[in-house]
């Protein structure tokens, strides 16, 4: 019960920051920063897969309604929710995943952390940018946007992650 409460608080904090700061702060100079995907990354390992899919879909839908982008975030976030168990299986550590542990560096090490977090954030950012442009005409431009967006999003998610694991 206590644990669930912690995740609900995290969800509200993420959406608050996403809505009030990251959707607004970097108007046009930088690519967008999406930190809300951290919620799907950090959910416990034993989360029901169907539930995960619906949480991802609703989270994406929320982003679409606040950003006026019909279908964009919902598509990408649902895909991430579907992909997460498969990526976790690919990067399965030597010691098996434990239900009670947070999906973080403490139990599984930094290499695992980097692989898991960066691959999901990279997929998320690339899909959002590719679906928006839906062309490879400006290939280098799109690529640079993806990389920049990935780097900044990863940095901010890392900051939030380090705050999250400190809370007990």
């Amino acid at each position: 019960m206590n644990k669930n409460f912690k995740y609900i608080i995290l969800l509200f904090i993420l959406l608050f920051f996403q809505f009030f700061i990251f959707d607004k702060l970097f108007l046009i100079y930088l690519p967008n920063i999406y930190i809300y995907i951290f919620f799907i990354l950090i959910l416990p390992y034993n989360t029901n897969k169907t539930l995960l899919l619906f949480i991802s879909f609703l989270l994406g839908l929320f982003m679409d309604f606040t950003n006026y982008t019909p279908g964009l975030h919902a598509t990408v976030t649902t895909f991430i929710g579907f992909l997460r168990p498969k990526i976790l299986a690919i990067y399965s550590p030597i010691t098996k995943y434990e239900d009670k542990e947070i999906l973080g560096h403490k139990k599984y090490g930094w290499t695992w952390f980097l692989k898991y977090y960066s691959s999901i954030i990279l997929i998320h950012n690339s899909l959002i940018i590719i679906l928006q442009y839906f062309t490879f005409y400006h290939f280098l431009y799109t690529l640079s946007r993806i990389l920049l967006s990935f780097a900044i999003s990863f940095a901010f998610i890392f900051i939030i992650y380090s705050f999250f694991i400190r809370q007990k």
Partner: protein
Amino acid sequence: MDKLFKLIQKHLITIIFIVIEIFCLYFLFSKNVHKEAAFFNISRLISGKVSEIRDNFYNLINLQQNNNKLAAENAKLKTIVEKYRQNYIPPINDDEIIYISGRIISIEYFTKTDNHLITDKGSLDNVVEDMGVIGKDGVVGIISAVNKNSAKILPIINPSFNLSVQTRNNNYYGTLTWNSKDYKKAQVSDIPSYVEINVGDTIVTSILSQSFPENIPVGKISKIEKNNSANFHIITIDLFTDYNNLAYVYIIKKNKNNE
């Protein structure tokens, strides 16, 4: 039957996933004006109030700066009006033009390509779709969806925007579009290559445009390329409107005087 049931149970998650994705992709790729307007209305209903709080907060930060800008614009307009008042000739058959002032409550550059702006004037203030919107420096965009007390503006910096424009000096018509790269630049096509134009010429709205009165400035020519295969100039212009720094706009209502 039993086997089928088991098969469905086994792949339940994949089936749910595919159903949701089809639903989302349908929304993403079917470009329908009515559906977009409906989505806009639902969005405003769900997040309108909270967005308003957020945008008011950000407006408050820029209040002093915006006030100064408006005062400077007022002074400029007063000078122009004074100049015209001294030698005023009543127009012969002019459409009546009314400006509705609006505040930009939300600048949605989220997707970078599908940019749009939201203003605080809606159908209660007689705003309807396809009205032109100008800022203090020039053309901003066209109203694309209207709500009771907000409206969505399709700015020049959106790939689906196009507008009939002309050069100020010689009246050759071209089409204004945006190539989704730089928000300070736009492209003008369809001006024939035998027309003499120079870097620095001003591009203005043409008489063919339904949404705007003629001669409203759009931008300045910054680059001209000759296309040998097609007989048209490829022109890049610097937009006068600074989209990164936009607080107040004027929505243009054109009343046709049919005599």
